[in-house]
């Protein structure tokens, strides 16, 4: 991948949780993300994928600490930004403008005592101070409609919206400043499958329109196979395999990847096949 079409370069990222027993949550992970590319990050709970995502954005909190590695953001204006070296004002300017995030479980990601609209306007107030109140409102409403949320929801509170709607609001908020990269941490896990599909369609449509890159974190490998350009499989803090979606599906190299692929029941084939044939995890040596 040549330098001009690369958006994000993460090299040798290491994250430890300090304490009585230091836990190495992320071990020497490197990824290269292209512009407008969808990278899927899959793995079981606790494998370090969320920690990794937070680390890229300097969102880790004690006792978690980045103990090694660099993150370089290749801005479309040509500049290379050393993300981990950013501090205070520079970091705040970078955040949401270049890279935004959609977190897991939007119920808790939205401030319960502020209206949804106010939270969206907040972003503009901080990053686009030249906008006045009605401009902020108009733009926020535009974004809401972009994700198929009704304009009159501007003044609603989080508890007045359904789970799917809240997640759409989160996505709208994440799009507000036209970021080049959106990191999504299990955005649909807490939703039922029908709503999940709607959200995914929304994301894909928006991406086609606005062409941002996505790092999509989930444990749902089949979903990633559907939507990702490339997939990286994480286990115990390390990337055990990465490649295009086709490569992973048809020619998985690593035993763990194969185990993961086989762990999802298929909608076709004989009943009972899944239970009878699946190899027990204990027999996989990694």
């Amino acid at each position: 991948m040549n330098a001009t079409s690369s958006l994000l370069t993460v090299s040798n990222m290491t994250v430890d949780y300090l304490g009585e027993r230091t836990v190495h949550a992320v071990k020497d992970v490197s990824i290269e993300l292209g512009r407008g590319e969808i990278l899927g990050l899959a793995g079981e709970s606790g494998c370090g994928k969320s920690t990794f995502a937070y680390a890229i954005n300097q969102l880790l909190r004690p006792p978690a600490m980045i103990t090694g590695g660099t993150v370089v953001f290749h801005d479309q204006g040509g500049e290379d930004i050393d993300v981990l070296a950013l501090e205070n004002k520079a970091l705040r300017r970078y955040r949401w403008d270049k890279v935004s995030m959609v977190f897991q479980g939007a119920m808790n990601s939205l401030n319960p005592v502020m209206s949804v609209g106010a939270q969206m306007s907040d972003v503009f107030r901080t990053h686009r101070p030249e906008m006045n109140r009605s401009q902020r409102r108009d733009r926020s409403v535009e974004l809401l409609e972009l994700v198929s949320v009704d304009a009159n929801r501007f003044g609603s509170y989080a508890h007045e919206l359904s789970g799917g709607m809240r997640q759409r609001v989160m996505i709208a908020m994440a799009l507000a400043l036209g970021p080049q990269l959106m990191i999504m941490d299990e955005p649909t896990t807490a939703l039922d499958v029908v709503v999940q599909r709607g959200i995914l369609q929304e994301i894909m449509r928006l991406r086609t329109e606005l062409n941002f890159a996505v790092i999509f974190i989930t444990h749902d490998l089949p979903m990633l196979l559907e939507i990702s350009d490339r997939i990286a499989i994480m286990r115990a803090g390390e990337i055990v395999e990465s490649g295009t979606a086709e490569d992973i599906f048809f020619a998985a190299q690593h035993p763990y990847t194969r185990t993961l692929l086989n762990s999802f029941p298929s909608l076709t084939g004989e009943r009972g096949d899944f239970i009878r044939s699946g190899a027990s995890l204990g027999s996989v040596e990694v």
């Binding site: 969102l59 970091l91 935004s100 995030m101 977190f103 401030n111 319960p112 901080t126 509170y157």
Partner: protein
């Protein structure tokens, strides 16, 4: 709908307090009417109307059924018929209350407000900077909290008044040089005299607010929406205040009722220490003189004030927490 429910609750509470006031003298041993009549008789012959009002307030064996007495009592109370005060004879109780009330409202009200604002601010800051040296002020405020109001008051008096002569030892204002009125001289004198009592209230109750707010801040700061706010690149001030403190302050407001009860209780005694001419001082004087009429009247007024304050705070809470509007 919510508001009606709350109003209803406070009406019930008021009724309960009034009924308690009615029932307690009648249930406990001791004969308040005779004691009072005895004291009043020292000052001169007791008019039948006075005797009648005392019996209304405290009970007698002769007139009507208990329900009839209750009804008469309620009627008397609602027209301000609290009787004559022994301590301030021959002033009617209602007048005594009217004179003392503004002092206490001003002192306790202002001091509580200052304590609340200061305490919440410090608590917010302490919670924001959790895990740093600021956490070590917690043990200090703990000790302060456990100190009895009046002991602290006396120690302050000892050092700042008797010792250094900085502040007056007692009273509400300089009785020799000024008199009550809305002029600068009186007000500044009142502020000067009110400083030590107010300081006592602030020092001994601020610990609770600081701690409560700090704990809620620490708790709130681990919430996802705070992380989202940080990820959005909002300024730390904005995150601390609009996202964290705004939600963290809610339990403190909700717990205001309990706090107010303690502040009122403590300020009673503190007024006595400073001979401050407020409700608390009058209340305690009444207790010491077995001036039951004055005591009962003051108890009702104190309860009314506390209930009123609580009602206001309760209504305020409905406004600041949008989630309560959804629940039925």
């Amino acid at each position: 709908m919510q508001i009606l429910r709350k109003l209803g609750f406070y009406v019930v509470a008021l009724f309960a307090a009034v009924t308690l006031n009615f029932a307690i003298p009648r249930m406990l041993p001791g004969n308040p009417v005779d004691i009072l009549l005895g004291k009043l008789a020292i000052q001169g012959p007791v008019a039948p109307a006075t005797r009648h009002s005392l019996e209304l307030l405290f009970g007698s064996d002769t007139t009507g059924s208990i329900w009839q007495q209750y009804g008469d009592y309620l009627k008397a109370i609602s027209t301000g018929g609290f009787g004559i005060s022994v301590t301030y004879f021959p002033t009617p109780v209602i007048t005594v209350i009217g004179q003392a009330l503004p002092w206490t409202l001003a002192l306790v009200g202002l001091a509580t407000f200052i304590t609340f604002v200061l305490g919440i601010s410090i608590g917010t800051f302490a919670g924001w900077k959790r895990g740093t040296w600021i956490d070590s002020i917690i043990p200090a405020t703990t000790i302060l909290q456990s100190v009895p109001y009046f002991w602290l008051a006396l120690v302050l008096v000892y050092f700042l008044s008797v010792g250094a002569g900085l502040f007056p030892l007692s009273g509400g204002y300089d009785v020799r040089n000024t008199s009550p009125g809305l002029d600068g001289q009186f007000l500044s004198s009142a502020l000067y005299y009110g400083f030590l009592p107010a300081l006592t209230i602030v020092i001994s109750s601020i610990g609770g607010w600081i701690l409560g707010m700090r704990n809620m801040m620490v708790s709130t700061l681990s919430e996802d929406y705070v992380m989202t706010a940080e990820a959005k690149g909002l300024s730390p001030m904005r995150v601390m205040i609009t996202y964290a403190a705004r939600t963290a302050v809610l339990p403190s407001v909700a717990g205001f009722a309990i706090s107010l009860g303690f502040v009122v209780g403590g300020s009673l005694i503190m007024e006595q220490v400073f001979s401050y001419p407020g409700i608390g001082n009058a209340f305690l004087l009444a207790v010491q003189n077995n001036d039951y009429a004055l005591m009962q009247g003051l108890f009702l007024v104190i309860t009314l004030a506390v209930l009123g304050a609580n009602l206001l705070v309760d209504l305020l809470y409905v406004f600041i927490d949008p989630r309560t509007r959804a629940r039925g």
